[in-house]
Symmetry: C2
Subunit: 282 residues, 2 copies
């Protein structure tokens, strides 16, 4: 009944989502559908949607918005043909800001007042770094990237407030410029690093004790490099304590049809200047 | 009493806004505060704010959102220290989608339920093109850039719908690649062109008859190049017929403190990784 990750590795997004939708796969999505954008998911009642959207707009490195649903609609057409209630392998359900449940299907929780937000994730620039020959320790060692609450505060919007959470990757000194240039090409996936070097300068006392994820080595000749992280909205949601909030379960992302390496606006806007193609996407 | 444009040309943003705020200048802002980002302004009641923000998110080339106010707050701190009710030289007031008034101060109309949106404008990439030695006919000839309703439809959000309005600039064939590359650097100011060449392909029958602005020549050796235009939201607002909508009067923009040539996220996010600088902006 339950399919293995390796079985799905080269399947198309619609095929993988079908398998997930029918309950045949509930595992993580890292490495699935290479070349397709994966996204963080945040679902909130509409009374909080404008404030959360302002939070994303004001903190675009941490919360790069790639799609927003209509109110009550469990899909985001521009990103692909999927049902947000069933097409992710696992969800976390928060009540009053506290994790209350983890589910593989949220059809029973869906309401007409819910708004879904898709946010870019680090898989995008990690794939580009690896393609440029830059090894990433946490991937080579099959661990979760280390994440830290930084002393950088996110810009506030309504009840949404908190620290910018950052992820750390050790980069060879000789590749620092490449890493900046490559990741800057993906503003919809956290963009360029927010800090390079001494962790203490952004309020991180001990690199070996991440707030989320696993510790990672900084080998000799390497420098710790920090990116704004998609866990930032989770911290803000915990602060806002919405009556209901549903997110993807970490690592169990929304798989979209969008090319992973699309740059900047191309992901969101006119795929072609030709009206017939544009209308197809509208 | 009334100051001339030439008197203000080299003044700092805060000085120009002070002069405007006190009613001493009510003219257009083109060419003022060179090097600073100018923005389109759209003010709507909060009941429409989420849909309008979705419209911007789904049409980022036409509606590049650079800032959103808190509900009821006539300022957008991250863009500068200004009062949106008084610091633009002129405003248009729309009731039920129809132009009802033009004012130089909207203090009397401000309400606790209003939300203000600042959208990037073409001044940004035009300055960059000129700096690269690319002459723009409408600027050389002191006319308004020609704008057209295209056959490309904007992505809809709630009641906001309509055509993508495009502006046309004639570019020397030899500089086409430069123009694409340069304007693509400014996704917050309409980004790369949406179409190059034959106007008919995007539904424009006659280049000499723009829907807004003045006709412009396409000299021999030049190609018409089309960018998504900040008039797109005006067409969508006419369709949505909000009870109240206030915008800048065309050409009479919001002058921000933000460097005009800032690229992509730098305009909106961490100016520095150092917490003390970040907190100052929060």
């Amino acid at each position: 009944m339950s399919l293995r990750h390796s079985t799905l590795k080269d399947a198309a997004p619609e095929a993988v989502r079908e398998v997930i939708r029918t309950g045949q796969y509930i595992g993580h999505t890292a490495g699935l559908c290479p070349g397709r954008l994966q996204a963080n998911l945040v679902i909130l009642p509409d009374v909080l949607a404008l404030d959360f959207m302002r939070f994303c707009q004001r903190n675009p490195r941490a919360c790069p918005l790639v799609g927003v649903s209509d109110t009550g609609a469990p899909h985001i057409d521009v990103l692909g043909d999927f049902d947000l209630r069933t097409d992710l392998p696992a969800y976390n359900v928060y009540r009053d800001g506290v994790l209350a449940d983890s589910l593989n299907d949220i059809s029973g929780l869906w309401r007409d007042d819910l708004v879904a937000f898709a946010l870019g994730c680090s898989f995008t620039f990690e794939a580009a770094l690896q393609a440029a020959g830059i090894a990433l320790w946490h991937i080579e060692n099959d661990t979760t990237v280390p994440m830290f609450r930084s002393a950088i505060r996110a810009r506030t919007a309504g009840p949404f407030a908190g620290p910018v959470v950052v992820s750390m990757r050790a980069i060879p000194l000789a590749r620092l410029d490449d890493v900046r240039t490559i990741s800057a090409r993906f503003p919809h996936a956290h963009g360029a690093p927010v800090h390079v070097g001494d962790p203490a300068q952004i309020g991180i006392a001990d690199l070996s004790r991440p707030d989320w994820g696993d510790p990672a080595l900084v080998p000799p000749g390497h420098v710790p490099v920090f990116w704004a992280c998609g866990v930032t909205p989770q911290a803000a949601i915990a602060a806002a304590r919405p009556s209901l909030c549903i997110t993807h379960k970490p690592g169990h992302m929304l798989i979209t049809d969008i090319p992973d390496q699309a740059e900047a606006l191309d992901i969101l806007d006119l795929p072609s200047s030709h009206p017939s193609q544009q209308e197809r996407l509208t």
